[in-house]
């Protein structure tokens, strides 16, 4: 099956991310093997995935810069926790039909949601937000692919 994303830039990102992430996983597995509390491992892995992605992308994009900034400030953990909380709230909120919003052109409710989703999305214009979102989606996809492969590999061996 041919991988749809075979353009050089995304494969580069994928490789870089895979390298970092695997390294982090290796370190983590050495320190706290699986039987240890899953919750802690889960948080660490999630942060490692996020950080590896941001490092792989580098400071070229605003969203990766935002994440790198959080890493340096050591607030990545909190950020991720709040983010998942916000996402749950968002799911509840978006579950309700919002016809009135749809009727309003772009429905600025959505724009704000998008800003909340994309890291570092608060401080940029809508147009820029869209391009950042596009790149962010590409990277998220690569991340999911790599992590799926890693998981498969772990499970198979």
């Amino acid at each position: 099956m041919k991988n749809p994303t075979t353009n050089p830039s995304s494969s580069m990102i994928r490789t870089r991310f895979a390298v970092r992430f695997l390294h982090a996983m290796k370190k983590l597995n050495k320190k706290t093997p699986a039987p240890s509390p899953y919750r802690r491992r889960f948080h660490t892995i999630r942060a490692a995935a996020c950080a590896s992605m941001a490092c792989a992308v580098g400071p070229r994009k605003a969203w990766s810069r935002a994440i790198l900034k959080k890493i340096r400030a050591r607030t990545l953990h909190h950020y991720l926790i709040n983010k998942s909380r916000n996402q749950q709230m968002m799911m509840i909120k978006r579950g309700n039909p919002r016809d009135e919003e749809l009727a309003v052109g772009f429905g600025y409710g959505e724009e704000d949601d998008l800003r909340g989703l994309v890291p570092g999305g608060e401080g940029m214009g809508f147009c820029r937000l869209l391009s950042e979102t596009a790149h962010y989606i590409k990277c998220l996809r690569a991340q999911v692919q790599v992590m799926t492969n890693v998981l498969d590999h772990y499970s198979s061996t």
Binding site: A18, R46, G105, S131, Y136
Partner: protein, 530 residues
């Protein structure tokens, strides 16, 4: 958004030209356009940032100021000139100043001077007569600095020094030179009055335009001719007149002036103002004749800018090489038939086009969005998709937390596997030949060769690749347990990726723990290669 016309750049280093305006003006001008915008003058510098999504700003400013566009032609010289104009407007000079400030913008944006009138336009700009002819005059005026001719003339020598400034700066100076050079004063004088008002307004707008104005002439003079909406007959006449003046100025001022003049005339026509004010509407009516004229003039002017723009080394980072104005900063749009052409709507249109273009790109990215129409729904889909991807990552990390890899040494295998699997068509894991345990030393020679396969842009990740070094060695030591049943096709791309991964290893000092060939993968690769 009204571009950042901070033309400040026009302040061109020579500062002198600025001096003549007003003390505050000059200071503003000196600084880079940024200051100018901030100053009361609120001159909008050429919207360098027009290119940016928020470029729409420039349009409104420029509307009223038709002539300033031609400043661009002046670009080198005009910068100084523009400064003058700008300064003048703020001060008692009024329109003249506007022109000055505007010119730098014009020059920068090459015609598309979207003067976004900053809020603080101090000069008491009387209403700009929506008069295309006026625009022309204003353009010329700014070029020649009609009203404040004497002042400008004084600064004339100064403008020379301005050259080093970015293009924007040059234009400013140009007017000085032009003014001093010829006796246009008389002609300008009459026009200057009208221009003053106009220019002041324009300059204000121009200032706002393009913060980077000084850097290069964002305005593409060449292109402006087309875009120039100034199709007014009067404008045309004005241009002709100015053209004549320009000629005179040329002789008197020498080369620098020439450019200015031509640019002025050309620019005046071409003022590529993204946004036109009401005046534009008038121009629209008769765009053809004036446009053509402007185009011609512009052509001449275009050539000049290249020569003039070069001197502005300082700010010239963006200096458009004359003929190719930095488009990236400035986006010129042509009013489409039947569409509103006032500055605001133009900017809006640009913004909307950008947004829709990005939405289309996103539509391709997000699966299942092709049938969705409408921004709101599309945005909803995008949000949902991003959320689902993020949730997937979380879910996967949860699973990874529970999974305990049986072998620590599987990292390299994992990595290789990932890479391979990511490669198109490579579904099998690394098909390392079972004889990975073969003596490694023999592999060393081929390694360099393999490495030369090329590291596609992995330079910056070399340090990250260092880490897999131990992985690689571990892989070699631990033996490759990956299914080797399938032969690795070793596509070129895989090889590249692999090289990328292991390249750092080779580049860096040999891995401390590598007794085996540093690159078991390479080893496998060499074997696998048919």
């Amino acid at each position: 958004m009204s571009g950042n016309y901070a033309n400040v750049e026009p302040a061109k280093g020579s500062e002198d030209p600025v001096n003549y305006h007003e003390p505050n003006m000059s200071s503003d001008w000196h600084v880079h356009g940024n200051k100018i915008t901030t100053t009361s003058i609120g001159l909008v510098t050429m919207c360098n940032s027009m290119a940016e999504p928020s470029a729409h700003a420039s349009a409104p400013v420029m509307d009223s100021f038709g002539p300033p566009i031609w400043d661009q032609s002046i670009n080198g010289q005009n910068s100084g000139y523009c400064n003058m104009n700008v300064a003048s407007t703020s001060s008692s000079l009024g329109a003249v100043k506007v022109g000055m400030g505007w010119t730098p913008n014009a020059m920068l944006s090459e015609g598309m001077f979207l003067p976004t009138v900053p809020g603080g336009v101090p000069q008491s700009l009387p209403h700009f007569p929506a008069d295309s002819a006026f625009i022309e005059r204003a353009a010329r005026f700014s070029c020649f600095n009609g009203g404040n001719f004497s002042e400008i003339a004084n600064h004339f020598p100064v403008s020379q020094s301005l050259n080093p400034h970015s293009r924007g700066l040059r234009p400013m100076r140009g007017p000085d030179e032009v003014l001093g050079g010829n006796g246009l004063k008389a002609v300008l004088g009459m026009q200057s009055q009208r221009h003053q008002m106009h220019m002041a307004e324009v300059s204000n707008e121009a200032l706002i335009h393009g913060e980077r104005g000084t850097e290069g002439s964002p305005f593409k003079n060449e292109k402006e001719s087309e875009r120039f909406m100034l199709s007014h007959d009067e404008a045309k006449n004005g241009i002709d007149v100015s053209g004549n003046h320009c000629d005179e100025a040329e002789f008197s001022g020498g080369g620098a002036q020439e450019e200015l003049d031509q640019e002025c005339s050309g620019k005046g026509l071409d003022l590529k103002k993204r946004k036109r004010t009401e005046q534009k509407t008038e121009n629209n009516e008769a765009p053809q004749p004036s446009n053509e004229t402007a185009a011609d003039i512009r052509q001449k002017g275009a050539q000049n800018p290249s020569s003039t723009s070069n001197p502005g080394g300082k700010h010239g980072k963006q200096v458009p090489q004359g003929s190719e104005p930095p488009k990236e900063e400035y986006i010129h749009i042509r009013a489409r038939r039947g569409q509103a052409t006032n500055s605001h709507s133009l900017a809006e249109r640009v913004r909307r086009e950008k947004i829709s273009e990005r939405m289309k790109f996103l539509q391709d990215l997000v699966p299942g969005c092709s049938k969705v129409t409408g921004k709101a729904v599309m945005l909803d889909e995008i949000i949902n998709y991003v959320q689902s991807l993020q949730r997937q990552v979380e879910f996967l990390s949860m699973k990874l937390a529970t999974v305990n890899p049986r072998m620590d040494l599987n990292m390299e295998g994992l990595l290789a596997k990932d890479i391979l699997q990511q490669r198109a068509g490579l579904s099998s894991s690394l098909a390392f030949p079972p004889d990975m345990t073969m003596p490694f030393p023999p592999l060393h020679p081929p390694q360099p060769g393999l490495i030369q396969g090329g590291l596609p842009g992995m330079g910056n990740s070399s340090e990250t690749l260092q880490r897999p070094m131990d992985l690689q060695s571990a892989l070699a030591r631990g033996g490759f347990r990956e299914p080797t049943s399938q032969h690795m096709q070793a596509p070129r791309v895989w090889e590249d990726e692999l090289h990328n991964v292991v390249h750092s290893r080779f580049n860096s000092s040999p891995p401390p723990n590598s007794q085996e060939p540093t690159d078991p993968l390479l080893l496998g690769h060499t074997k696998a290669k048919p």
